[in-house]
Symmetry: C2
Subunit: 153 residues, 2 copies
Amino acid sequence: MAGRTWAFEDFTEGTVIDLGSKEMSAQEIVAFAAEFDPQPMHLDEAAGRASILGGLSASGWHTCAVFMRLLCDAFLLDSTSQGAPGVDEIKWKRPVLAGDTLSGRTTVLAARESRSRPTIGLVTLRSELFNQQGEAVLELSNSVMFLKRGPVA
Amino acid sequence: MAGRTWAFEDFTEGTVIDLGSKEMSAQEIVAFAAEFDPQPMHLDEAAGRASILGGLSASGWHTCAVFMRLLCDAFLLDSTSQGAPGVDEIKWKRPVLAGDTLSGRTTVLAARESRSRPTIGLVTLRSELFNQQGEAVLELSNSVMFLKRGPVA
């Protein structure tokens, strides 16, 4: 963990991290839905158009999974992350349609040292994904545990 | 939608719905992680044993996706669901390890008619998944929109 770029001390309040981008193909949307969320509007273009979503649209859980991959590639795999106990809130703000390109950012809302574990800090992140029109499609807040960089007193 | 088994009126407070069960194979855990959450403890048995999770363990998002599939098969695909605006809270209570068999239930916490849309009601669900030892691994709360069964006045 010593050589990692991101440790607890690097997540200061207000830090904004770019999450890069990912195009959502129809093939990927249907493959995820067939395994995990086989509702018609996630499997079929005509059923999507007939639904309130307006077209073949990704499962909200697929959007969350893509968010996780962007987070991994942006900084998490090069960090001292010790995992997350859960998620505080997810908002699926708009449909994610086949062909959309999602991009995003994560903002550090708060960072505090653990009272019980002196080697660890807890970082509260608020993350957002947008489509190619700049419209928010996903908002997500959660807290992640990171090891501290510095020697423990 | 008329022939569906589950409409808004069927989700009365306190109703408990069995979600069936699903075994989490090492192959499925690694396939999901390789695409969406390539952290070492989700990809490799030795890395998992070396982590605080204690073995090759599913991404928390994989557990959520499996929960969604169980929900679909238990009642959602045979319901008047109009989708969900998000998730209020997710708690990953314990690691889900390769070979674990998850089972679960959903409890109706509240059901109320929409003020703005007379054909719709909002149902608040609290869902739990357990491993084969009966230990909770996932808790999740959210609200889902369902069409009403009865004719609209």
